[in-house]
């Protein structure tokens, strides 16, 4: 195909095979998305269909958790709901402030120094540590000495959340423009004051939303809790001592049970867990939309 023909200008589509290849590629990409929809639809549909019938106020708040053979409708998962909320909440209280502080160190204080680089690198590596390893870690270092407790579970979840909060907060801090900091310094503020009164408020929307997503993920975690809280059937209000329970570990225990009652409670718990994670995700989105000043 060398020189082009003079005036009889043909401006229609190029040769068939080029156009077909392009169209096939586009079709494949759309197909990929459809493929993603299928399992998501299946799971959500099943969980909602099977779980909805189990959910009731009694289910969510009543207890204790009945033995597996007991049919649905008796007792409730209250202890597990309590456990999930409290343990995850405790983990968040530990991980979020520490994570934000760590991000502040990396971004505001560390700069290009070696320690900051190592910390950032290690935080990245730590996000890849499997959740089960975190559970085994807390087992080895705490449970063996102090026994099972909700606190131990919270430690494990906090270890999971910490690197995630650090990385996402760091991203948000990076987005705050330097002129803001410089203006504050120029007024004679110390670094800590600049960070706390100018930088942090500017990034707070993104930081909060990142933290919420980390919490959502932690709420659904099972493996770290398996080795740290044991799974009991009554509400343990004392999260600092004594075994506890959570929705995720209950589901795990019930999933392999042949009894319909146990299974029904598992579906109900699954729906509750998904609802919690979903609500957190929506709140995170709202925070991003309304309160984030600097975004990518």
């Amino acid at each position: 195909m060398t020189a082009m023909e003079p005036p009889a200008v043909d401006l229609r589509e190029p040769a068939g095979w080029r156009r077909s290849k392009n169209q096939i590629a586009t079709t494949l990409m759309v197909l990929a998305f459809v493929i993603v929809l299928i399992p998501l639809g299946f799971v959500l549909f099943t969980v909602i269909a099977k779980g909805a019938s189990a959910i009731s106020w009694a289910f969510l708040t009543g207890g204790p958790i009945p033995p597996n053979v007991v049919p649905a409708g008796i007792g409730g998962m209250g202890p597990a709901v309590y456990g999930t909320l409290v343990i995850t909440g405790l983990a968040a209280v530990m991980a979020v402030p520490l994570g934000v502080l760590g991000a502040i160190y990396i971004n505001e204080y560390g700069g290009r120094g070696p320690l900051a680089r190592v910390v950032r690198f290690m935080a990245d590596v730590m996000t890849g540590v499997p959740s089960i390893v975190m559970g085994l870690f807390i087992f080895s270092i705490w449970v063996l000495h102090f026994g099972y407790s909700g606190l131990a579970g919270a430690f494990a979840l906090a270890c999971l959340m910490l690197p995630v909060v650090i990385r996402s907060s760091e991203e948000m801090l990076k987005l705050v423009p330097d002129p803001l900091r410089e203006a504050s310094y120029a007024l004679g503020a110390t670094k800590s004051r600049v960070t706390l009164t100018v930088v942090l408020p500017a990034a707070i929307g993104g930081i909060v939303s990142g933290a919420l997503l980390a919490i959502a993920r932690a709420a659904g975690e099972t493996a770290p809790l398996l080795f740290t809280i044991l799974t009991v059937t009554a509400t343990n209000a004392n999260v600092f001592s004594g075994a506890n329970t959570a929705l995720s570990t209950q589901i795990f225990a019930n999933a392999t049970q042949p009894f319909l009652g146990a299974q029904s409670r598992a579906w109900g718990s699954a729906l509750t867990l998904i609802a919690i994670a979903f609500i957190l995700m929506i709140v995170a989105r709202i925070v991003t939309a309304r309160f984030t000043r600097y975004s990518r």
Binding site: M1, M4, P7, V9, L11, R12, P14, A15, R18
Partner: protein
């Protein structure tokens, strides 16, 4: 440069366009050497509901170098991109009016932008070589058009690089990455890449603005050399460059609508380069080319 625009473009409300249009001359004295390759007829370009350019009509002639000049924001790049349908890439862009290319409508139904761009190539302001070897950069165009034969590709690559005055500098490093070239070399690589598909027209959007004077000179020499085979339309903010290279010049400016706080680009005057610079007919043209603005 921006402030003075306000002085020159009398805050004209768009309804007064009709009066302005009378001031737009068609071609001036010298008759074009070739036939019109492009015929823009009442072209207005919108981004969503915002009218970015209004009512441009002009003809571009074959084997000439036509320059688009004007202050920044006057729409000259937007009009240029209309000629190879590159504005299609912007989601809310819309073109009213029509552009004829060798008699065929560029915006008619059934027209493929891909076929259009194969014939009407473009060189960008910032050199953008692909992250591939020099050879693969130049061969990219011919390859997507179906040429697979290695010998043929070798020939096309050498020819294009020679035309772009780059062959001697890269002939021993054809397999090295195109990203490792200097700015001027990279831009000539992009020109070679454009010439490799043997287009009919080469559009250039401020091709030398990111380059030093020596590299700029090489590009301008190149333009003169390839003029006999191609038609060139160049957007430039450098008036001396326009006088150095172009046969015909179109001067664009901005209409400021202070009521709606909008600025719309428009074609003010179009004619042979010598006439535009030495004997401009519109006062705004005169203000611009004599340096009283921008």
């Amino acid at each position: 440069m921006d402030q003075s625009e306000q002085n020159v473009a009398a805050p004209a409300q768009l309804p007064k366009l009709a009066a302005l249009q009378d001031a737009q001359p068609q071609d001036a004295d010298s008759t074009p050497t070739g036939s019109p390759i492009f015929d823009a007829m009442g072209v207005s370009i919108y981004y969503g509901s915002f009218r970015a350019v209004t009512d441009v009509s002009l003809a571009i002639y074959e084997n000439e170098i036509t320059a688009f000049i004007g202050p920044s924001g006057c729409g000259k790049t937007t009009v240029l991109r209309t000629l190879n349908r590159l504005n299609d890439l912007i989601p809310e862009a819309r073109v009213e009016g029509d552009v004829h290319y060798r008699g065929a409508s560029l915006y008619g139904t059934g027209v493929s932008p891909i076929a259009v761009r194969r014939r009407i190539g473009m060189v960008f302001q910032k050199p953008n070589p692909f992250p591939k070897s020099v050879y693969d950069n130049v061969a990219y165009g011919p390859r997507i058009n179906g040429i697979r034969n290695k010998a043929k590709l070798d020939e096309i690559v050498e020819r294009s690089l020679r035309q772009a005055a780059l062959w001697d500098e890269v002939k021993n490093r054809l397999n090295k990455s195109g990203l490792g070239l200097s700015g001027g070399q990279a831009q000539r690589l992009c020109i070679a890449r454009t010439l490799a598909v043997e287009p009919d027209v080469v559009l250039m959007d401020e091709p030398a603005s990111a380059l030093d004077p020596i590299a700029t000179g090489k590009i301008e020499d190149l333009m003169h050399e390839i003029k006999s085979q191609y038609t060139i339309v160049i957007v430039t903010h450098n008036m001396q460059q326009a006088t150095r290279v172009s046969d015909r010049t179109a001067f664009y400016s901005v209409l400021v609508d202070s009521e709606n706080d909008t600025r719309t680009g428009t074609l003010v005057e179009y004619g042979p380069t010598q006439q535009i610079f030495e004997d401009p007919k519109d006062s705004r043209t005169q203000a611009y080319v004599t340096g009283r603005m921008g």
